[in-house]
């Protein structure tokens, strides 16, 4: 049973030497580490662990190099048209540069504000930027990701209205109600699907949850749906794409109550799904029900400006089982990336970026729509889309994608479970005209032959 006992190894991450350990044990008053382990049942101590021996940094790099080489990405020559909640955008050098600063990366949660003014001021800027983009009055300092932010928003609506039924529009990404279900299944909440063209809704909904652009890429009529919600005493919860807000009307203009979003498009690598950041903003009147950390501006004893966590009585470390949420560690460093990104792009950059994505996506859509056997309904619908659209394919999108892969093209998401033979295609500024033309050409060759 016993493997190595009290024979600590020298390691770059562990500075204590044998003689220092001996000195410390002497001060403590025991002969060896075993003297300190008295409470651990003897029969279970020092179990055998099937873990490999440690690697040097050089060997570690080789291991990771091999792992990375087994994945297909733009760095290995692939072009991709996947979106559906995670988006490929160019990340400016400023973001990577500031992320090198260990003072941000290795800092703790700012519970001691005097020692964390950097983190706190960045968080305040983050809150400001979210309000500016969404047109809302207040924002928190970030949540785990888009879908959990949406789930928390719906639960907040339930607390505010004291109702237990949550309406989610049928055109939303299924990940939103799925995450909401996981969060709410033991809280007496019922989730109801609302048809996108509904002119009436139940009069006991806590909120109407809308995603715009919706899962299929189209802009929803947020104004109409918000009025419908309010007429029935429900809150309006809208889940947006922050890149689109460089161009499309901010939800705050429509008297929306809570806005959520996935913050990943704003300077965060796709990184196989995380870590991301959930954006969360609401009307000031609801602030005490808002989950997550909030940073406020104040002054110190000498009258100097400073920032601190505020309204902490909403949170788990004080209110425990009556907290607005159990969230503790969230995503502060990702919030820093979003803040640096948005500061770098600035007013003009965010407008230009949205336009660029729009232009390329609409070009791709119209080119694909001209192909035999393919159609893009959003082009003729009278509504509009941002940078994602559904392509109705002549055959199974999965089969088409398999052929595309051989040409080093990662096609759009197969959504035939929601839209017959549907492929959800996303085009951002990272796709050149040549990339788009290659994709279109490949589709036309595959055509109905699959």
């Amino acid at each position: 049973m016993a493997s190595s006992v009290n024979t600590s190894v020298n390691h770059p991450y562990i500075p204590s030497t044998d003689s220092e350990r001996a000195e410390m044990l002497d001060v403590i008053g025991v002969d060896s580490l075993d003297g300190l382990l008295g409470d651990i049942p003897v029969e279970h101590r020092h179990p055998k662990l099937d873990i490999d021996a440690g690697l040097s940094e050089q060997e570690l790099s080789t291991v990771f190099g091999s792992i990375a080489a087994e994945n297909a990405s733009s760095s290995s020559g692939y072009i991709s048209f996947l979106g559906a909640g995670s988006y490929s955008h160019y990340i400016p050098s400023t973001v990577r540069s500031i992320l090198q600063r260990g003072e941000f990366v290795t800092a703790y949660t700012p519970y001691q504000p005097e020692a964390a003014q950097g983190t706190l001021q960045v968080g305040f800027e983050f809150q400001t930027i979210i309000c500016q983009l969404t047109g809302m009055e207040v924002a928190n300092a970030g949540m785990y990701d888009g879908p959990t932010a949406f789930a928390e928003a719906c639960l907040m609506a339930a607390r505010v209205t004291k109702r237990t039924k949550i309406g989610v529009l049928s055109t939303a990404d299924r990940r939103l109600p799925d995450t909401l279900l996981a969060y709410s299944k033991y809280q007496g909440i019922e989730i109801v699907e609302i048809s996108a063209d509904a002119t009436e809704i139940p009069d006991d909904l806590a909120c109407v949850g809308v995603q715009s652009p919706n899962f299929f890429g189209e802009i929803e009529d947020v104004e109409r749906l918000t009025n419908l919600a309010h007429t029935n005493g429900a809150l309006s919860v809208v889940h947006v794409n922050p890149t689109a807000l460089g161009m499309f009307k901010a939800p705050g203009e429509f008297d929306v109550d809570i806005v959520t979003a996935e913050g990943q498009p704003l300077g965060v690598p796709m990184a196989f799904g995380g870590p991301y950041v959930g954006l969360f903003a609401c009307k000031k009147v609801h602030i005490r029900q808002m989950p997550g950390r909030i940073i406020g501006r104040t002054t110190d004893t000498k009258g100097r400006i400073g920032y601190a966590l505020t309204l902490q009585t909403r949170e788990q470390h004080i209110r425990r089982e009556r907290a607005t949420s159990n969230i503790c560690t969230s995503t502060q460093l990702i919030g820093l990336m979003v803040t640096v990104y948005t500061a770098t792009l600035g007013k003009r950059g965010m407008q230009d970026l949205a336009n660029l994505c729009y232009q390329k996506a609409h070009y791709a859509a119209s080119e694909i729509n001209r192909l035999d056997g393919f159609s893009v309904e959003s082009l003729g619908s009278g509504g509009t889309f941002f940078h994602e659209f559904v392509v109705t394919c002549p055959s199974s999108p999965s089969k088409i994608n398999a052929v595309l892969l051989d040409k080093k093209i990662i096609g759009g998401l197969d959504i035939s479970d929601r839209s017959d033979s549907g492929m959800l295609v996303c085009v951002t500024e990272t796709s050149s005209k040549a990339d788009i033309d290659k994709f279109v050409q490949a589709l036309s060759e595959i055509g109905a032959s699959v």
């Binding site: 005490r288 902490q312 009585t313 004080i318 209110r319």
Partner: protein, 124 residues
């Protein structure tokens, strides 16, 4: 610190009677334990409250406590000053920092409360 003319509950609220109206607030012990009061969550006037039932919450920077009514009845007035200036609870807990006024249904409920000396003894 604990005026003789008031009655006290074990949850650290005080009562001052004016006819059958009970003026209610929190004691010095309560506001000192809480620290700087930042928010008071009170119900609307017209709400009924039972004796020793929760009627609201009081928050400081680092803590939140429930508020329990020492007597039952209808809440006839709520102190609006605590909305804009919650610090009055710290400044004058027995004066301008009052919280609610209750029209008492059953005066005998006052017998279940403590006088100043008895209440102070519980604080030791």
């Amino acid at each position: 610190m604990y005026p003789d003319d008031l009655k006290y509950s074990k949850e650290h609220e005080w009562v001052r009677m004016n006819g059958n109206i009970a003026e209610i607030g929190v004691t010095v012990f309560a506001e000192e334990s809480l620290g700087d009061v930042v928010f008071v969550d009170l119900p609307k006037a017209g709400t009924d409250v039972g004796q020793f039932a929760k009627f609201g919450e009081i928050e400081s920077v680092k803590a939140v406590s429930d508020l329990f009514s020492p007597v039952g009845g209808k809440i006839v007035e709520v102190n609006a000053a605590t909305t804009d200036s919650p610090e009055v609870v710290n400044e004058e807990p027995y004066g301008t920092g009052w919280l609610i006024k209750v029209e008492v249904a059953d005066a005998s409920q006052l017998d279940e409360l403590m006088d100043s000396a008895t209440y102070q003894a519980t604080l030791e």
